[in-house]
């Protein structure tokens, strides 16, 4: 319920049927929505300095000695003496040039701290996304084919548990069962080297995947039950096509469209879930960095990671919408009713 929604429906073009030109118009329209959105998000992120309780200069200084000279340097560095909107403009132009400011811990550039932590989060997210799509679509399809049976009911119940169990709760159960009781997987840390890292990230990836997977199962199952009841399936069966052919050539492709539409939900689920999972399993990723920065009131680092996470979510949504129109000609020709 929380999070980004597929915006395809509302922005689907209704222009005259046409090939490339309407696609260009569509992409331009999506961009026209995305750029203001990114600006509004960046404004919110910038405003965090001023929302934080206390004087912005001392928030930006953190625990460092706040003698008048240092305060003056910080005021100049962040243009705190300028009018509010001018400050935002200057900050934004620095951000666009890749300067996210200096962390209050150890005087490091926020960008280099983020670069150190990015790897773990990327691998974790990729592993979970693979699990979410692979297992989610598979279980959804199985449930739809065996609709009404015990297996279907078991998968549906698994979905309810998945939605109800947040990543950090699932993570604790996985830690206990596979780490403490069975000793199959390491309990903490990211591991070294590619294989060892994948080994260390297996439990976190499953914990992260479960709740998002539940959404994919639900959508795939509903879409596939609907698709299977359509006339073209009956007709294909009547013509004697094999079940496998009907499934892979027709039903699967058509039922994946709603899953693509839910890409926004999936991305938000993975990004927010990664924060919880990294804290649960003590992984040095971007999510754990964000929480650590919040606890130490390190505003520049919070701004950096928040901006990165939300820009990523917005841009993935944009990319999905564009790919979606390329894949499904009905949208390009404006014939999809939302």
């Amino acid at each position: 319920m929380l999070g980004a929604a597929p915006s395809t429906g509302s922005t689907a073009i209704t222009d005259r049927p046409g090939g490339g030109s309407s696609l260009v118009v569509f992409v331009m329209r999506r961009l026209a929505v995305t750029i203001p959105l990114l600006l509004m998000i960046s404004f919110g992120v910038f405003a965090l300095v001023h929302i934080a309780p206390g004087d912005p200069a001392s928030s930006l200084l953190g625990a460092r000695a706040s003698d008048p000279a240092t305060l003056a340097v910080v005021r100049a560095r962040y243009h705190l003496d300028d009018p509010f909107l001018v400050q935002y403009g200057k900050w934004l132009s620095q951000v666009i040039r890749g300067d996210l400011g200096v962390s209050i811990q150890g005087n490091r550039a926020v960008t280099s701290t983020i670069a150190d932590r990015l790897g773990v989060t990327i691998i974790l997210s990729l592993m979970s996304t693979t699990l979410v799509l692979g297992i989610g679509i598979l279980l959804g399809a199985v449930a739809a084919f065996r609709c009404g049976t015990r297996l279907d009911r078991a998968i549906v119940i698994f979905g309810v548990f998945g939605i109800s169990s947040p990543a950090f709760v699932t993570g604790i159960f996985l830690l206990y069962v596979f780490g403490v009781l069975l000793h199959w997987f390491p309990v903490f840390g990211p591991g070294e080297g590619i294989l060892d890292r994948a080994w260390h990230l297996t439990l976190p990836a499953f914990a992260l995947a479960t709740s998002v997977m539940a959404i994919v199962i639900k959508i795939t199952r509903a879409a596939m039950i609907e698709e299977l009841a359509r006339d073209y399936v009956t007709f294909a069966r009547a013509r004697g096509l094999s079940s496998r052919r009907i499934f892979f050539a027709y039903v699967l492709r058509n039922s994946l469209i709603p899953v693509v539409t839910a890409a926004g939900l999936i991305v938000v689920g993975i990004v927010a879930g990664a924060i919880y999972v990294e804290v649960t399993f003590s992984l040095p990723g971007l999510g754990a960095l964000t929480i650590d920065a919040i606890q130490k009131r390190d505003i520049p680092t919070i701004q950096g990671t928040t901006l990165l996470f939300s820009a990523f979510v917005v841009l993935v949504n944009l990319a999905v919408d564009v790919i979606y129109t390329l894949v499904d000609p009905r949208i390009r020709f404006g014939r999809v009713e939302s």
């Binding site: 999070g3 980004a4 965090l48 309810v160 109800s164 169990s165 604790i172 927010a272 919040i294 606890q295």
Partner: protein
């Protein structure tokens, strides 16, 4: 006008829903009675005892500060239930007002409200909650407020589409013809008709708010340190996973049980009354 036999089977509540309702009732009793039914004080520290596994005296063992885990879990039902109730009620108070106006009036009001909803939808909600609560501070009640605002956007969309379904129906035309005021049509005629949908989603929102609030407490951003709260217990007891795993597993089970029960009840209400 269906045959009595059919309405009989339709009215029967499935056993799963009864169990779910029973679980929720038990949680509510824990939340109301709290320390009265807890076997021990949820706050009493025994630093000399420290973390111990389950024993006859402490059925679920003790935590790092020697506090009785079972009593803390029972007492923790309070923060687990009160916040989500406020979030769900607050979100739907905002959503009902905006959704009714947007769906019934249409035009500029509708466009303005829908642009706001679209904007909220484009934000990564859980991340916004973490960062805003983390930076602004204020813990539990800030979290409740932020979640209520975030949840109100998707809820507005739900109320609006329910209103749009009602608008072309003859009873609205009839009410208009009778000269009944717009406010009265909205709140006296349309609202009762969409109430079942709202009720189903309030229950689903509750489950989602419970999970989110527990999550913020787990990150150390929700309730005050030391408060018996299921999410906070998962945060504080992480270091005793080996010595007393029950201190983590019990609150985790409570979160899942309550959320699963509310999700099942919400889904059932939706299927039964809102379809």
């Amino acid at each position: 006008m269906s045959a009595p036999a059919i309405s009989e089977t339709r009215r029967r509540v499935p056993i799963v829903i009864l169990i779910a309702a029973l679980i929720v009732t038990a949680m509510v009793i824990c939340a109301i009675l709290g320390e009265k039914i807890a076997p021990d004080s949820p706050f009493l520290q025994r630093l000399g005892v420290g973390d111990t596994p389950p024993s006859p005296v402490h059925v679920a063992g003790t935590d790092l500060l020697g506090r009785d885990v079972l009593s803390r879990v029972i007492y923790g039902a309070r923060t687990a239930l009160v916040g989500p109730v406020v979030v769900a009620a607050g979100a739907f108070a905002i959503a009902t007002l905006l959704g009714l106006l947007s769906g019934y009036l249409g035009g500029l009001v509708d466009s303005a409200i829908m642009r706001w909803v679209d904007f909220m939808f484009a934000l990564p909600g859980p991340l916004v909650a973490i960062v805003v609560v983390g930076v602004v501070g204020g813990g539990y009640w800030t979290a409740v407020l932020v979640l209520a605002v975030l949840f109100s956007a998707p809820d507005t969309r739900i109320v609006r589409s329910a209103v749009l379904e009602q608008r072309p129906l003859p009873y609205i035309d009839a009410a208009r013809t009778l000269g009944i005021s717009r406010t009265r049509i909205l709140f006296v005629h349309i609202l009762p008709n969409i109430a079942p949908i709202i009720l189903a989603y309030v229950v689903l929102d509750f489950a989602f708010a419970l999970v989110n609030l527990a999550g913020l407490s787990f990150l150390g951003l929700g309730v005050e340190p030391g408060t018996p709260d299921w999410g906070r217990m998962l945060f504080e007891n992480r270091s005793i996973l080996f010595s007393n795993p029950v201190a983590l597993l019990l609150p985790a089970v409570m979160i899942i049980l309550t959320a699963v029960s509310m999700n099942l009840i919400g889904d059932w209400l939706y299927e039964r009354f809102a379809k």
